[in-house]
Symmetry: C2
Subunit: 148 residues, 2 copies
């Protein structure tokens, strides 16, 4: 089976070699083999890295990613846990996206605010519109950002 050196994988994923060694030390590649003392990455580890990047992007910590990788090497008996993990991450990402949407609304409001301030040379006119006399589209951004 085809295998790759740590340097090749680093190039493939645009990661520092030190990060790959750190991941290995943290147990993220429980099945990684060696030739002599050199790591041999295979399609298995490449798949693992894709999942690692996904789980990291979802906000999961290294120690929990390790847990997942261990489940993977324990076979079918852990399907239920693995499914649960991905459902939890999906829910966490949906929540994070909702939070970002609110953040975005406030940022867009602020973009409008400073564009207006720049045109006017002061904030007086805008301040006099607050908190609920803004142009309708802008008012919506402002309200959304603080809603809940």
């Amino acid at each position: 089976m085809k295998s790759y050196s740590i340097g090749q994988i680093a190039d493939m994923f645009d990661l520092p070699i030190s990060t790959l060694r750190y991941y290995d030390k943290e147990g993220l590649f429980p099945e990684l083999h060696r030739s002599g003392n050199r790591r041999l990455f295979t399609e298995r580890e490449i798949d693992a890295l894709r999942v690692i990047e996904c789980l990291k992007a979802s906000g999961l910590e290294i120690r929990d990613i390790k847990q997942f990788m261990q489940w993977c090497s324990e076979g079918p008996s852990t399907y239920a846990q693995r499914k649960q993990l991905f459902e939890d991450r999906r829910d966490a990402v949906l929540k994070e996206m909702e939070q970002l949407r609110k953040t975005l609304d406030l940022l867009q409001y602020k973009c409008w605010y400073y564009e207006t301030a720049l045109t006017d040379g002061h904030e007086d006119r805008i301040q006099s519109m607050l908190p609920d006399g803004l142009p309708a589209n802008i008012q919506k951004l402002y309200d959304n950002a603080f809603k809940e």
Copy 2:
């Protein structure tokens, strides 16, 4: 003008008092006054905290939030920089949302994967569908996640 103690603000924003003191030490409230040696928070600092939470959620570091707060206390001459900052954060958040959308697609694919594996009792049938013989809706998730 109405003012609040650090404890009242902590309750208001559901933040530890130590965090508020840390923010102050880092220069996030450049105009904060005191009575004796006690901090007096006003509407100004409450607004500041709302912006701090937004900028933090957008991924900005404390030192850059400090810069923004200093611009705010320098008056109209910094409107352009402040506007640019919010435009940059808006773009950063849009990028992050796009990244999260891809992450979500892979997570949903994995949810399907393990649901199927759990039903089948093994991964063999799924593996034989890879990389492009998945059900159409699932194939789309899988493709989106790795698309550039």
